[in-house]
């Protein structure tokens, strides 16, 4: 008897589900726009488009935003003297660089206009520096000048012994790329954009009204698709029938040094560029660390973010040429990023039949991202999309580091109401339980340990999460309503614990 009821109930529930599935397929929401890829480009495009009355959904392959090239790059806002005159790269870099300070202010993202130097080690380099300056002037970069060693030493006392001259670019800056991406996506979500995580696009189908973007059997239907898929943007374009370009992942290895060394240089210090990129740089980060890298190596595997012994050696050797007194004993971590190097030599941004490519966005992609978003908006207008400003648009976003920047008195006011802001979880970076909970509850929400780390810096310091990880796992499990052992480092099978002891 009991058994029968269960069976009946089972079929009843199945039946209801089938009905719902049918209904949902029938009346499935037709979105205005589907953005593929929640990196910094996808994020900035989403933020831009949410200024208008549009229904936007972002499809992201991974379990969090900013997981591709956005997560691991030089974190530089380039002045704009590298790209060839008249190229899209040049135009969008210079425009993005000009926009960046205000853009970051609105989103509460850390940005610093620290200026940059390109070092010359010999007379040939001197010629290159002058050529770069001329190109920069043609691109509209302000304040460029080439100076001799004496002057370089005044700007950067720890510069390497071989340096003879440098190009000074006062408009160069630094920003945290994943913070910018999270803030842009978060702001888009605050204005109503939808973020679909763990949605790797497997197929794209052209329909009468637009496109169906599939991930397995699941799909998103939208009138317009914007391809911001980073190293996969050629694959995504091909799914929509565009085989006009390819994207090669270019591996770049980095070393991050402790804050103790964060003031060794104040400018971003480049070497003369080659055809493989801008060479190894040494730069402070907005969080006060020192970043060295990247190497440049074209590879075929779009997932290979492993570091190599030889790559790390190269970074050490080259960086030591730029700056004296580097101490690699102060290494916090080393990592690898993959730039999406397009086959065309310039950014590939175009629009055809409601399918927009933002592809081959290698360096200076981060610097250009806000300008790329505007450019995409204009492409849409040109293609006949009517944009009406969104009423009650929220342009600002409260940063997750807001608490940290308060005075002690202001902090105490908050602690009175929310004592968890006084309970320190991450010792190295002094991050409280309150800040971690705030991050877990703020769009785009993190679901794993690394997600919390990128949002709060908890686990980003010297002990690399040795002390705080067990506590953060606990907070995450509690907030997400799952078991302690279900929490991963970064999604997928990256489990932190495999089960209980004594089992």
């Amino acid at each position: 008897m009991c058994y029968n009821t269960d069976i009946k109930e089972f079929y009843y529930i199945r039946y209801i589900h089938v009905i719902f599935d049918l209904i949902s397929i029938e009346v499935d929401i037709m979105h205005d726009i589907c953005i593929i890829g929640a990196g910094v480009v996808g994020g900035c495009v989403a933020r831009e488009l949410m200024k208008y009355k549009l229904d936007v959904v972002i499809a992201e392959k991974m379990g969090d935003v900013a997981m591709g090239a956005t997560k691991a790059n030089s974190a530089i806002v380039h002045a704009g003297f590298d790209a060839k005159e008249g190229s899209l790269k040049a135009k969008l870099n210079v425009r993005g660089s000009k926009m960046m300070e205000e853009y970051c202010r609105e989103l509460g993202v850390k940005y610093k206009n620290n200026g940059s130097l390109v070092l010359g080690f010999n007379d040939d380099d001197r010629e290159t520096l002058n050529a770069l300056m001329q190109r920069g002037i043609a691109n509209g970069v302000e304040g460029l000048r080439v100076v001799d060693r004496d002057e370089v030493l005044k700007l950067e006392p720890n510069i390497g012994d071989e340096v003879v001259a440098a190009l000074v670019a006062p408009t160069g800056g630094i920003v945290c790329p994943y913070e910018l991406c999270m803030a842009a996506v978060g702001n888009a979500m605050d204005n109503g954009a939808e973020l679909k995580l763990n949605f790797p696009v497997t197929r794209i189908e052209k329909t009468e009204k637009g496109y169906k973007v599939y991930s397995g059997d699941e799909f998103i239907e939208a009138e317009i698709v914007i391809n911001c898929a980073g190293v996969y943007s050629d694959d995504v374009a091909r799914m929509a029938g565009d085989s006009s370009f390819t994207v090669t992942p270019r591996r770049g290895e980095y070393i991050l040094l402790d804050k103790e060394w964060g003031t060794l240089v104040s400018h971003t210090v480049f070497q003369c560029p080659s055809k493989m990129g801008k060479g190894i740089l040494v730069t402070p980060t907005v969080d006060g660390n020192l970043l060295l890298g990247p190497t440049a190596e074209d590879i075929s595997d779009k997932e290979d973010t492993s570091t190599t012994a030889s790559g790390i050696e190269t970074v050490k050797r080259m960086a030591s040429r730029s700056v004296s007194g580097l101490n690699f004993g102060g290494t916090i971590t080393s990592f690898t990023g993959l730039r999406a190097t397009g086959s065309v030599g310039d950014f590939i941004i175009n629009c055809k039949d409601g399918f927009v490519n933002c592809a081959g966005i290698e360096s200076p992609g981060l610097s250009s991202a806000p300008a790329i978003a505007e450019y995409v908006r204009d492409l849409l207008i040109e293609s006949g999309v009517r944009l009406t400003p969104r009423e009650n648009h929220i342009s600002k976003r409260k940063p997750l580091h807001a608490f940290r920047e308060l005075s002690n008195d202001e902090k105490n006011e908050i602690i009175k109401e929310h004592p968890e802001y006084a309970h320190i979880i991450c010792r190295c970076e002094t991050i409280s339980e309150g800040e971690i909970l705030e991050a877990i509850r703020t769009n785009p929400k993190p679901h794993d340990l690394d997600g919390v780390k990128r949002r709060t810096r908890s686990g980003m310091g010297r002990c690399q999460g040795g002390f705080c990880a067990p506590y953060v796992v606990e907070l995450l499990a509690k907030e997400l309503g799952c078991d302690y052992q279900d929490i991963t480092k970064f999604g997928g099978e990256s489990y932190i614990n495999i089960g209980k002891t004594k089992e």
Binding site: T307, T331, C463, P470, E493, I496
Partner: protein, 417 residues
């Protein structure tokens, strides 16, 4: 304005060093003491060290970590020494003003007559080792794994390689085995282990876990979770010999590659840090070069036995109490140098003429050597040592009479044939 309170003695850290210091200060008659502990209970790292072997020197019996801690917790409670839990000190200045915070008080300041730093140490993380390969889940420092297993009751993995033969790594080799994991091997970069001989015997040999000396992990494999590591033998310059490289399948890599004293607060107070120990430079009473700030335990230098931590904390507490009571020092001003074979000594300076024990570690394994103390090229003390190893802390005591003989304000501690 944020609240400010006054205390005669503030102790930063409620682990074995902090508690021993508090108890000793109390027993010397001091009452106005406050212990600040960042965790939710007293005991420090001992809380997760559930194995035995603690307290042989001090109590003449083998205690577990929590039992050893409990002896001091009982005293703290019996003496009603005040302590604050889940309280983080975020800054200390030269004038002995501490900034701290907790949920109850918010952010507040304490004006201290004297401060004892007892914050302990942390483990060297993976990032600092620059191991090539991927960055999957499944790589933990041994202490973090110990926390998951012993405190949280969760298993970090079931097939384990351990890099580094520090004591926590050795202890975790046994713990993981007892919890049902398979420990494939322990790789040690150096030709000797940095751990205690007894731990190698009881944690590895008793469980047939191979200790591979002069070996290291050269690559980590696995996209999401560790799937294996490549290990290789290293030459005398500690460079991997590539044709000895081999893959070992595992889902977990534990790191036991050294401990680093946690001296962020020490630095914020402008205290000079010793380059070898990564702890403060102190005199015989464990006073730093900032007046009234003292340090003891693993924040000063990494100890092998907790018994020595307690001993040092007591010396430190006496110094702090004397300072609070205005007893002058400075009858001597002697710097202690070492020859490199002796890596360091604690203390680094002598400011008093009284019998003083120097704690030291050596840089390699040495047999049948003489530990020698020289003043202006004259040997003032010489002691035969049968075997010295980097993993074990050694001591030598210099008497007040010998200190009186010291010339030029400097002695050198060295190993001679």
């Amino acid at each position: 304005m944020i609240k400010r309170i006054k205390k005669e003695l503030v102790i930063v850290g409620g682990g074995p060093a902090g508690m021993s210091a508090a108890v000793a200060a109390y027993e010397r008659g001091l009452r106005d003491i406050l212990i600040l502990e960042r965790d939710n209970a007293l005991g420090g790292i001992l809380r997760q060290c559930i194995h035995n072997g603690f307290g042989l020197h001090r109590f003449g019996e083998e205690l577990t970590g929590p039992e050893y801690a409990h002896r001091y917790i009982e005293k703290v409670l019996e003496y009603k020494i005040p302590y604050m839990l889940e309280t983080m000190v975020t800054g200390i200045d030269k004038n002995r003003i501490l900034t701290a915070q907790n949920c109850k008080e918010g952010i507040f300041e304490i004006e201290a007559g004297a401060i004892i730093l007892a914050m302990g140490c942390r483990e060297r993380p993976k990032g600092a080792l620059n191991i090539a390969g991927t960055r999957p889940s499944g790589v933990y420092t041994a202490g973090t794994a110990q926390k998951y297993v012993n405190m949280k009751g969760y298993m970090p993995g079931k097939r384990v390689v351990i890099l580094g033969s520090g004591d926590i790594g050795l202890i975790m080799a046994r713990r993981m085995t007892l919890e049902g994991a398979k420990v494939e091997c322990v790789c040690e970069l150096m030709p000797y282990s940095g751990g205690l001989a007894r731990n190698i015997e009881q944690c590895l040999n008793d469980f047939d876990i191979p200790l591979l000396l002069s070996h290291t992990v050269i690559e980590i494999h696995g996209k999401e979770r560790v799937t294996g590591v490549t290990i290789a033998k290293v030459d005398e310059n500690r460079r991997p010999i590539m044709d000895t490289a081999r893959f070992i399948e595992c889902d977990t890599l534990l790191l036991s590659c050294g401990l680093i004293p946690e001296n962020e607060l020490t630095r914020s107070a402008g205290i000079t840090i010793d380059r070898v120990t990564n702890g403060a430079v102190v005199d015989g009473s464990r006073e730093t070069d900032v007046k009234g700030i003292f340090a003891c335990g693993n924040v000063l230098h990494v100890h092998d036995l907790v018994d020595y931590v307690s001993e040092e904390a007591e010396i430190c507490a006496c110094g702090a109490v004397d300072f609070i009571r205005g007893q002058a020092k400075g009858e001597a001003d002697i710097n202690i140098r070492t020859d490199g074979k002796v890596r360091y000594t604690v203390p680094r300076k002598l400011t008093e003429i009284k019998d003083t024990t120097l704690y030291f570690r050596v840089s390699d394994i040495f047999r049948d050597v003489r530990l020698t103390v020289k003043s202006a090229d004259r040997v003032i003390l010489s002691k035969k040592k049968q075997k010295l190893a980097p993993g074990e802390m050694e001591t030598v005591t210099i008497s007040a009479d010998v200190i009186r003989e010291i010339k030029n304000g400097e002695i050198t501690v060295s190993l001679e044939a």
